[in-house]
């Protein structure tokens, strides 16, 4: 079931790390990032399956615990065991498992694990070197710690939405990006916190509890909005497809000849060199008439951004973009160092030779039980010595019960049968 163009003999950065992953859909990306870099991450699922196994999209649109693509993507390189931690036997087994673990990941409501007798206090007595990372909506403390939420609610309260939306549609809502991006931002910080705690433990032998708040993670992920208030007491306004602003700025979305949207930037260019090269390019296409006037060079050199001349230049560039295909505009712009881009749907990167071929971003992952393999998005970064590796497809529900409970924990076949029949695993 392994795949990979990567050599299996290459070392992995986290190959010494043992992780028990109790997270739900909020936190499963944390364990994926660790597993993809070599950690042994075991998902501890309730016998009916991890919550994400019940969320789509599904393989062939057939809801089934083994068919969730949300689960697939976020569970690469992980193992799966089932264990009902709400039972006394489940609690006992968890306590045993924690002895050999470096990290426990969890994203329950604050206080829940404690109520089962599996809180940090208890687990750290069993294994003082243990790191427990708790990723929650609002953190373990404070007046909001028990509030309910969703990815949308997180994006609303944390601030990304106040900055994102339309200036072109009156009275239109602030927008939340589809695809669990709010939770993923919390997950990024949970990995940062976990890795930092691991480095600290390696230095001091002291484990600890890492408390990560999704609300805070998003609250510091809004670029200029926070300094806008801290230093200027101003609230920026939403603008379609571009930076929020204290004052309105011109649109950056342009339509190309093939009807696609292009994200323009720096139009007209602030740099005289780029302006000259843009005019040359437009001239090649017979669309630079009147633009070679020194008047424009002077205004651009002076840093003028507004006024009738700049509006005129923007109109001419808009016409130029409208006369070319989106790809020609993207690559042509980039060749003269203008950071222009096509607005792509995620799957449209599958054909991009830079990402696909040169950087190997889309590894094929074999699902032997389906007799198929599929391209997955790959490495968040290229590591020269310990590369990201796709060692194993996401696990089937409870796929590793046998190996984990009998080989690793030494339970007998009889015990396994009893655990199964009493629905503990």
């Amino acid at each position: 079931m392994t795949i990979s163009s990567n050599s299996q003999t290459q070392p992995m950065a986290l190959e010494d790390m043992v992780v028990l992953d109790l997270t739900d859909e909020k936190g499963m990306y944390v364990g994926k990032m660790l597993a993809d870099m070599g950690a042994r991450v075991t998902i501890v699922e309730p016998p009916e399956g991890h919550p994400a196994r019940h969320i789509g999209p599904f393989y062939q649109d057939k809801p089934d615990p083994n068919n969730s693509l949300l689960f697939w993507y976020n569970s690469t390189n992980k193992e799966s065991i089932t264990l009902d931690i709400t039972t006394a036997k489940g609690v006992q087994l968890m306590k045993e498992m924690v002895k050999k673990a470096d990290v426990v990941l969890e994203s329950f409501q604050p206080g829940y694990l404690d109520s089962l007798g599996l809180g940090y206090e208890t687990l750290s007595k069993i294994n003082p070197r243990l790191i427990m990372t708790s990723l929650t909506l609002f953190g373990q403390t404070g007046p909001y710690r028990d509030l309910k939420g969703s990815d949308l609610v997180s994006m609303a309260m944390g601030g990304p939405m106040a900055s994102s939306g339309y200036d072109t549609l009156p009275d239109s809502p602030p927008m939340c990006c589809d695809g669990w991006i709010g939770y993923a931002t919390g997950c990024n910080f949970a990995v940062i916190g976990t890795m930092t705690a691991v480095l600290y433990r390696d230095m001091t032998d002291q484990g600890q509890w890492v408390d990560v708040s999704i609300h805070e993670a998003l609250s510091c992920t809004t670029e200029a909005a926070m300094p806008n208030w801290f230093f200027d007491r101003k609230v920026p306004m939403r603008q379609t497809g571009r930076h929020h602003g204290l004052t309105p700025t011109p649109s950056t979305q342009y339509v190309s000849s093939d009807g696609k949207l292009v994200n323009g930037f720096d139009i007209p260019p602030r740099s005289l060199d780029r302006w000259n090269r843009l005019v040359e390019w437009m001239d090649e296409k017979g669309m630079a008439e009147g633009l070679k006037d020194d008047k424009y060079r002077e205004l651009i050199s002076q840093g003028v951004r507004n006024g009738p001349e700049m509006d005129f230049l923007r109109d001419r560039i808009t016409e130029f973009i409208a006369s070319q295909t989106a790809d020609d505009i993207y690559h042509g712009g980039q060749k003269i160092r203008l950071a222009w881009a096509v607005i792509r749907s995620p799957e449209e990167n599958l054909d991009d030779e830079h990402f696909r071929d040169d950087r190997g971003f889309f590894p094929q992952v074999e699902h032997p039980e389906l007799g198929k393999s599929f391209a997955y998005p790959g490495a968040p970064a290229i590591f020269s010595r310990t590369p990201w590796q796709m060692r194993r497809r996401p696990p089937l529900l409870g796929e590793d019960n046998e190996k984990f409970f009998s080989d690793d924990m030494g339970l007998s076949q009889d015990e396994l049968v009893i655990l199964r029949e009493s629905r503990v695993i």
Binding site: A13, M33, M37, P57, L69, L70, Y73, T141, G142, K148, S150, V153, A156, M157, A162, Y166, L169, P173, D178, G179, I181, G193, T196, A197, Y200, D202, T204, W209, V212, S213, H215, E216, A217, C220, T221, E223, M226, P227, W229, F230, F231, D232, R233, V235, L261, R337, A339, A341, I343, P346, H354, D358, R359, F361, F374, Y376, P377, A381, I382, S384
Partner: protein, 423 residues
């Protein structure tokens, strides 16, 4: 004895500028690494002069709110890398550093004679982190991005917006932040590997890929099921497609007169209902108006089939209430609801952020007065950490400390270099 900071003893040579790179080194600095930010007097970080300006009402390179926000917990030095003596100085600093991080365009360090291989000659186990739009490897390595460029290519712009409209995308450089997080994650993992094996390495971070990794389920829906994300109905606005539940949206609330900048503006509250139990509690919380008993809203499927009408009816309830009033009323019934909070809301009236000391005070290094800023969203039980250690450095403020205390240079050497305008 005070406990060590988690990254104490780690030295980072930081050539980053604007947001993506400084975001990464700010995290490492908050965690206790000694971060030495290298700027050139002539080519200082542009956020010093652009975007926001004028802490205390006075413009200047040391008064930019934007620079202040992204460069705390760092030392600041100025060195002109284009002069041989300056480059020599930089190479000496590489030799005593654990990590080099930069987000120049992809050929700058090579041009300085500081490719990864050349850095290894100066420091055998160096960890070199490059952050660019497309990465240093690949045919488009010379292409450049700002946040919105990377967001457009990654798919994240397209995934945000109302169905049938142009994408709204993100109102800021989300992928500047996220590329910085990604780079920090990679750096910490590489440090772990180095601590175990003594091996450094090169980490090539691409801003576009930092967004592409967040689109996994949408990409799989295409590679597995052949269903493109670009199709009628996408993006879904603030409704939920996975899981497909209703109601799940943002709702108009009463305007907010307290906003001091600009006009009073429309306020919004997000509400997410996932289960029938949620729905029952929601109906009671809004006073059980007659329509909530209508069979066309009696199950999730019915609510989805009548979602436009459902959202309109819910908005009749929210429209005359402040967003926080809606949020508190629903949350006390166990419903996921949250005000769409502005920067002002978060800083002025969010009791959660205050109670967790997410917002902290630091003393500005030039005007010597305290100001407020936010901090890392991580709390550790056993270490100091995630604490703002110092405000951002005025231009060249730590030249003397770094040259004398770290490189052991004499006053004479420093004066000689100053005369050559190395700083």
């Amino acid at each position: 004895m005070t406990k060590p900071l988690p990254l104490e003893g780690i030295r980072v040579l930081d050539f980053t500028h604007i947001v993506a790179g400084p975001q990464c080194t700010r995290i490492l600095g908050d965690m206790g690494a000694q971060v030495i930010k290298v700027e050139q007097g002539q080519a200082m970080d542009v956020t010093r002069s652009a975007m926001l300006g004028g802490i205390g009402g006075i413009p200047g390179p040391n008064r930019s709110g934007m620079f202040e926000y992204f460069n705390r917990s760092k030392l600041g030095i100025t060195v002109n890398a284009l002069m041989p003596a300056g480059l020599e100085l930089i190479k000496r600093l590489v030799g005593v550093s654990d990590i080099v991080i930069e987000n120049f365009s992809s050929r700058v360090l090579e041009r300085w004679g500081l490719s990864y291989e050349e850095q290894c000659e100066l420091k055998k186990d160096i960890i070199y982190v490059s952050i660019t739009g497309f990465g240093h490897i690949g045919r488009y390595r010379d292409y450049s991005t700002w946040g919105p460029t990377a967001q457009a290519l990654s798919g994240l712009t397209f995934m945000s917006g109302l169905p049938g409209e142009r994408p709204a995308g993100w109102g800021y450089s989300f992928l500047d932040h996220t590329a910085g997080y990604n780079a920090a994650i990679a750096t910490l993992m590489a440090l772990h590997h180095r601590n175990r094996t003594g091996e450094g390495q090169w980490l090539d971070v691409s801003q576009v890929e930092s967004g592409m990794v967040l689109t996994g389920p949408a990409v799989l829906d295409y590679t597995v099921n052949g269903r493109p994300y670009r199709r009628a109905g996408n993006p879904p606005g603030n409704r939920s497609t996975h899981p497909r539940v209703a109601p799940h949206n943002t709702y108009r609330c009463a305007g907010d007169d307290e906003i001091v900048s600009g006009e009073p503006r429309r306020r919004w509250c997000a509400i997410s209902i996932f289960t029938e139990e949620d729905w029952g509690n929601f109906c009671v919380a809004i006073g059980s108006p007659a329509w909530t008993n209508d069979p066309k809203f009696s199950s999730n499927v019915d609510r989805i089939l009548n979602e436009d009408e459902l959202d309109r009816l819910i908005e009749e309830w929210t429209i005359d209430k402040m967003p926080h009033e809606v949020m508190y009323r629903l949350q006390s019934a166990g419903i996921a609801a949250g005000a769409v909070q502005t920067n002002e809301d978060k800083i002025v009236r969010d009791p959660q952020l205050r109670s967790r000391e997410f917002i902290q005070k630091v003393v500005h290094r030039e005007i010597n007065e305290p100001f407020e800023t936010d901090s890392l969203p991580i709390k550790f039980s056993h270490t100091e950490g995630a604490k703002i250690r110092q405000a951002s450095p005025p231009l060249g403020a730590d030249n003397e400390y770094v040259l004398k205390e770290i490189l052991g240079m004499s006053d004479e050497e420093i004066t000689e270099m100053a005369e050559q305008a190395v700083f």
